[in-house]
Structure formats: C-alpha cells, structure tokens
C-alpha cells in the first residue's frame, strides 16, 4: 500500500522531462507519469523483495541444512502471469489512446491533403508518391468547427544541417520559425543519408529518409527557442547537427514571415 502510494507520488511529482512546448507534449507527459508510476512501484517492490530475502534468508554460520523444498505453487504462478498481462494490456491500450490523441493513427498517404486550402507555388505531392506518415495532430478544428489550415514547411536534411523552406513565401531559412497555436505540417526529405528530426520540447521525432518523404504535424504552444537535434547517426558531424526552432507568438511570426517573404516583394 505504502509502496503503491509512494510510487504514485514519485511518478506524479518527480519531473524528469524538459519543458513542454507543443500540443501533444502534455499528452505525452501524462503517459510518462503513468509509466513512471507503474515502473517505480514495480522496481522498488522487487528491489525490496530481493534485499529482504537476502537478509532474512541468509545462511547463518550455524545453519547446515537446506531451505524449504517448495517446487512451485500453481495459483501463485497463475497470479503473477495474469497480473503483468493485465498491466501490460492496460498500458498498451492506454498508450494506444494517447497515440491516437497525438494523431499517430491517422492513415497513411494522407500527405498534406487535409490542409487543402494551401496556396502553394510548388505542389509538394507529385501524384501517386507515397508520403509516409509520422505522428502528429492531423487536422485541428477551429472554434467554429472548420479546419485550420496547417502552415506548410518543407524540410531538407543533409549532412550536416536542416534547411526550412516556406513555400507560401518562397524563401529558405536555416532556423525554423513557427507560430504558436497554429498547426504546422513539415514535409521532410533527406538528400544523402538518414537523419532524424527531433525537438525534445515537442516530444516529437521523425526520421528523415532519402527516397521517402515523411511528414510530421504538430501544433506549437509555448513561445520560446528550442533545440532541433538530429537523432540518427549520419556521419562524423552528427553530434554537431543541431539547429533551433523559434516558436513566435502569431504577431512576431507574421512580422518575421513578411520580412523574409519573397513572393510579396515580387508582387509589389
């Protein structure tokens, strides 16, 4: 009992994670706390049992005889088969639910077509090309019920940098800027080897695979600057392949976007 309460307390109150800065990060943290609580209870329980047994049942110098001849106990064995099975099933279903809430179960090949009203000078989806889904909220409902169009960004990963192209403004940036509170859709391609796009504060990671465009959708929430890390070994400078993502409040994002926009300049 104490063990269970203690485990729950530790699970809820010890924070091992960095700040959360995307819509799915709090969902992730919820899962993390559940797993951490269960894990702590199990771990402390088993360590306690081992240490207790080693002390309580140690062979004292005067003892020459054997321990008890217990060869098994079927009800007990069924019990500790069933309980982990139930726990694992619960955890599995729960994480499935979490995954669904993070948008991971949206079908493949959705590409970016859910964000239909996209003014995109260079259509990203050649017909019939497979776009491999990652994780991420696919379509965000606005307050009035309509879908908010995601900000499309094209990510190119190469040894050893990320490039971000904003098709709506036809410019390229070395730093990712995204508006807080609006869904973003990254379409990622690698030029040479496999890389992985990881933002720890978003709790999101997606491999960037040569020959196979991948998408990653998310909604940033907390303004700030966070690291983008390459998480797949890609060569000697893999450790140096870092960049940053700036989550701006919508006004500063607008300002930054307009300052870089090349299409409007052409229009004027």
């Amino acid at each position: 009992m104490i063990l269970v309460l203690g485990g729950l307390w530790i699970g809820q109150n010890v924070n091992l994670l960095p700040a959360d800065a995307s819509a799915n990060a709090p969902v992730y943290d919820e899962l993390f706390r559940v797993l951490f609580s269960i894990g702590t209870i199990l771990f402390i329980g088993i360590v306690g049992l081992v240490i207790f047994s080693l002390i309580r049942f140690r062979r004292r110098p005067s003892q020459r005889g054997d321990g008890l001849a217990i060869e098994g106990n079927l009800p007990l064995e069924i019990f500790w088969t069933a309980v982990p099975a139930i726990v694992v099933l619960f955890v599995g279903l729960y994480s499935y639910d979490i995954y669904d809430r993070m948008g991971g179960m949206t079908p493949l090949n959705h590409g970016m077509d859910h964000s239909a009203p996209m003014h995109d000078p260079s259509p990203p989806d050649e017909n019939g090309e497979r776009v491999w889904g990652g994780i991420g909220t696919s379509s965000i409902q606005a307050k009035d019920g309509g879908a908010i169009a995601a900000v499309p960004i094209e990510v190119t990963a190469m040894q050893f940098a990320f490039l971000f192209r904003y098709p709506q403004g036809d410019f390229i940036s070395g730093e990712l800027h995204v508006p807080a509170g609006k869904p973003v859709s990254l379409r990622m391609e690698a030029k040479d080897v496999i890389h992985a796009f990881w933002v720890p504060e978003f709790r999101l990671k997606q491999d960037v695979i040569p020959g196979q465009p991948t998408v990653l959708n998310f909604t940033p929430t907390r303004p700030g600057t966070y690291p983008i890390v390459c998480a797949e070994l890609c060569g000697p400078y893999h450790g140096g392949m870092r960049s940053s993502v700036v989550v701006d409040d919508p006004e500063s994002y607008e300002a930054w976007f307009n300052a870089n926009n090349t299409l409007e300049v052409a229009d004027a």
């Binding site: 894990g39 049942f57 005889g65 994780i135």
Partner: protein, 556 residues
C-alpha cells in the same frame, strides 16, 4: 550429510590430442577445452571492447569533440558495439558455458558434432582480429553496429566491407554452434533422461539455438546484399537506384531483436542453475520456466519493428509491434517472480555468485521496465535513438548478461580449476561493478529524456555534468576488473583446494572430479532425474535436516 561419490582419478588413455596447457591452443575437440577457449578468447575481446568504451567515455567528458577526430569516434563506437555483442556476449554465454555445461547436463561425453564445434570456435579469433585490424589498415566501419544504409554504403568502403566479412564469419560460427546445441540436447540425452528433467540451462540453450538458426541466416543474407551495394553498386538499399533503405532496417532487426534474446536467454538459464544451489532450494516453477522460455522465443521473432517506430512505418504495424513487444514482459516477468520465489525461504549463501545473480535481477528489472516503456510508440517517439535507449540496453546487456557471466565464473571456477576463488576479492569486485555500473548508466536515462541523442561526439554543454558522472562510473567499472583479474589468475595457483563438489550441488557436472576428466566421467554418466532436488520437506523442517538430498540415482 555431504554426498560423497567414488573419487574419479585422472584418466590415462592414449590420445592424439595434445594434453597440458598446449591443448588450449590446439584444434581440440573436447567440449570442455572448447568451452574454455571461448571464455578466455571472449574475455580478451571484452578487454578490448572495454578499452574502446573507455575512449568513448573520455571523449564525452567534455561537450566538445576534443579527444579524438570525429570519424575516429564513429569507428570506435562501431567497433565497441560489434566487439561487445559478437565477440564477447554471444560467444561467451552461448559458446563458452554452452559447450562446457550442456554435455554434462544431458549425460553425454561430448557435443554431437565435436569437429564442427572446434570449427565454430576457430572462426572467432580470425574474425575478431580481422575486425580490429581494419582500424589500423584502412580505418574501421563508421556506421554503428547497425550499419544502416545509406550511411554504411557512403562511408569508407573498405572498413565497411571488412566489418561485413567478420560479422558473417561470426554469424557462421554462431549458426554452427546453434545446430550443435540443438542436436546435443535433443539427440545425445542419456537413456532414461526425459526432456522435462533437464537442467534449465539446457532449455535456455535450446530456445536460444532455435533463434540463432532461424534468424542469423537472415542477417547473413542482408549483409551480403549490403556488400553488393557497396562493392558492385547494386541498388537493393540505394534509393537513387530504386532501392529502399527501410527494408534493410526490417531485415536487420529481424535478426537483431532475436539477437538480444540470444544474449539474454542463456543468462536466464545460468541464473536458474546458480540460485537453487546457493539457496538450497529447488528451482521454483520448473514447468512455467520452460514454457516462458518457449514463449519468449516465439514472441521474440515477431517484435522487431519496435526499433523502427520513427522510420515511417504504418500505424497498424506500430500497434501490432507495441502489443507483441509489451507482451514479452509477461513470460519474462514469470521468470523473475520464480527466481524471487526461489530466494524466498532459502538458506542463501551470500557469496559472490549469489551477489552477482541478485545484481542481475535488480538491473534487469529496471531494463525490463524501460523496455516496456519503450515499446509504447508515443513514448518511444521521444526517446528513440537517445541516451535513454543506451541506458535501457546497457541495463539489459551489461547489468543483466555480464553480471550473470561473472556470477557463473564464480560458480563454476572450482569445477574448472579445482580451486576456489577468493571471496573477499569477489565481493569487492561485485561492489565496485554494481556501483560503477549504476553510476555510469542510471544518469543516462535523464540525458535521453532531456535531449541528448546517442552516437554523438559533441553535445549541448548543459549535459556536461551528468556525462562526467557517467564517465566516473565507467572508470569505476574499469577499476573493478582489476580485483577480478588478479583473483582469477592468483587463485588458479594458490586458491584453496575446492574438492569435487564444493557447493554440494546435484547437477551432473558436479558428480565427477574437479577438473573433470576427458569424456567427463570415469564410469557411466550419472542419471539425474531431479537436478534441483534440494531442500527439506516442510514437515521435517525443524529437524536438524541434512544438506543436499539423495534423490538422484547416481552412476547406476
């Protein structure tokens, strides 16, 4: 009282095989000699792999890449992983202990195919030397032990090709070994010995060998395709030529997930041998242990894609692999509860073998918990390819398997040499290893959760302190091998004489002289129906009961 057997003297049969220490350098077909060859050879590679780990942890003391050039760092990292897996863990838990113990356990005088056995061993030293020498000749492979294309097909080709060659040789060795173990356990059992009377290690090796034989050929095929891509510029895994890089990952993990069970199932078996002897109790739940091994074998074959949750795999696949992976925790859990129940109510001798076994239980439980967490897709998406995963598998492979290897050395050293190891040094070794190990790897969970990817030579300076802590733990681990090495060498000459059966064990390897004669027993092999027949029945407990029991019918 102590069970005494008719002492079995040395055997003086003329033999074509060299005798004395020279036989350890020969093409011996004696399973005990081959077992020791595996063990010593594996340990030498462990020292090399450990030195490479030391280099990695030294580089990571500071956030800059300042200890060695970046490409050398990647070579070191690749060699470390490959050496530790293919030249230390796999050969030692399978080859070394398997060869030494399995013939005893089934009541045979040798393995089923002694010559194949010797060939399997003698593939290892050349393969290992080839791998290491690639560093000096052309520069070693730089793409990690996983060798994902296109990185492996675009970095220096010579190193990668040598890497493939040596892994193929090692894979071949492991397949030969696997076939031999299956044949020995199934076909060489002494008449009258039933499968369900075998010591648990036999079951573990049977399960492991099935995995080896089913999955290693897939690795071999994959690596051959990869070498075609490198040498002949074919396009199996080259997206520019219509190939697919993710297919490689599927094929690779189809072998390499079972490989992790190839590394840990034998360790489960060894612990099941060690604990009952020193707790003076029967192994708890023999039958459920056997079924869980077989369940792990079956499930282990269908979980590989949990290494690829961020590779753009379809959602249904992720769901399936999450559930299958998490369910491995059930049979694994059964085994752990059974060991805990074996400890419960025992008369536990707190010697080095038991301490290392209990260290294994504790470390592995933590590794299993993080494993189940990693099996959850949303959790894994954050920590995949980070130091969290590094921590997870070191808790399993080092905290689990390597601890068991040490426990086994403390347990079987008297059998092999006829002398005891020094217990004080053994406990010191345990203490240093346990503290060093946890100091080295526990903080890495935090590093991964907070943004440090794996396989990097440089990192965000905010992680410097925790990395230094981890490196200090690594240093302690390095130091911990010194008392062990001294103990093993010194005790071989000056250790206390052990006698034939110092632990009063009932399994057949102890029912002969220490060290055992060629062909294992002087007379006929003993028939052991109850390898774990320790303990006193509950109704006799208050009598000053005898130790051991004579439930076997020996030497009939």
């Amino acid at each position: 009282m102590t069970v005494s057997l008719t002492p079995q003297g040395e055997q003086h049969r003329p033999s074509l095989q060299p005798t004395g220490w020279l036989r350890y350098f020969s093409f011996s077909v004696d399973h005990k000699v081959i077992g020791l060859q595996y063990l010593v050879c594996g340990f030498l590679f462990y020292l090399i792999g450990g030195a490479l780990a030391g280099a990695i942890r030294t580089e990571l003391v500071s956030p800059m890449s300042d200890f060695m050039p970046r490409d050398v760092y990647n070579q070191v990292l690749t060699l470390h992983g490959t050496v530790m897996i293919f030249l230390w863990i796999v050969p030692v838990v399978n080859g070394a202990f398997g060869n030494y113990l399995i013939p005893f356990y089934v009541g045979a005088r040798d393995m089923a195919f002694p010559r194949l056995n010797a060939v399997a061993f003698w593939l290892i030293p050349p393969a290992g030397l080839l791998l290491i020498s690639s560093y000096f000749i052309t520069g070693a492979a730089q793409s990690g032990w996983t060798a994902y294309p296109p990185l492996s097909t675009t970095t220096a080709a010579s190193g990668q090709v040598i890497w493939i060659l040596s892994v193929l040789l090692l894979g071949g060795s492991s397949i030969f070994g696997g076939i031999n173990f299956i044949a020995t356990v199934l076909k060489l059992r002494r008449p009258g010995l039933k499968l369900m009377q075998l010591p648990m290690y036999c079951w573990a090796m049977l399960g492991t060998s099935i995995l080896v034989v089913l999955s290693t050929p897939v690795l071999a095929g994959t690596l051959i395709l990869l070498s075609f891509d490198i040498v002949a510029h074919t396009g199996f895994f080259n997206p520019g030529l219509g190939g697919n890089v993710v297919v490689y990952q599927h094929l690779f993990w189809f072998y390499s997930h079972p490989a992790v069970y190839i590394m840990v199932l034998p360790a489960f078996g060894l612990v099941s041998e060690i604990l009952p002897v020193h707790c003076r109790k029967p192994l708890f739940g023999y039958a459920t242990m056997v079924y869980s091994i077989m369940a792990i074998v079956v499930l282990g074959l269908v979980v590989w894609a949990h290494h690829m949750f961020t590779s753009g795999t379809p959602p249904w696949m992720r769901l399936f692999f999450t559930i299958a992976t998490a369910f491995i925790a059930v049979p694994t859990g059964i085994k752990f509860f059974n060991w805990l129940a074996t400890l419960w109510g025992g008369r536990i001798a707190l010697n080095s073998a038991v301490l290392f076994s209990c260290g294994f239980i504790i470390n592995f439980v933590l590794g299993g918990i993080t494993g189940v967490a990693l099996a959850q897709v949303p959790f894994d998406v954050h920590v995949h390819d980070t130091y969290f995963v590094v921590a997870h598998f070191h808790y399993i492979v080092y905290g689990g398997t390597v601890f068991v290897i040490f426990a086994s050395i403390y347990h079987w050293y008297p059998k092999v040499t006829g002398r005891m190891l020094n217990e004080t040094l053994g406990r010191l070794h345990f203490l240093l290893t346990f503290i060093g190990f946890n100091l080295c790897f526990a903080p890495q969970h935090w590093l991964g959760l907070n943004g440090m990817p794996r396989r990097v030579a440089e990192y965000d300076p905010q992680f410097a302190f925790i990395n230094q802590l981890s490196s200090a733990g690594a240093l302690l681990m390095a130091i911990s091998t010194l008392p062990f090495l001294w103990n093993v060498v010194d005790s071989a000459f000056r250790g206390e004489i052990a006698g034939d059966n110092p632990w009063n064990a009932l399994t057949p390897e102890w029912l002969t002289s220490s060290p055992p004669p060629v062909e294992n027993w002087e007379g006929e092999a003993p028939l052991v129906h109850e390898p774990y027949g320790y303990g006193v029945p509950i109704d006799q407990i208050d009598l000053a009961a005898a130790s051991g029991s004579d439930l076997w019918s020996s030497g009939k």
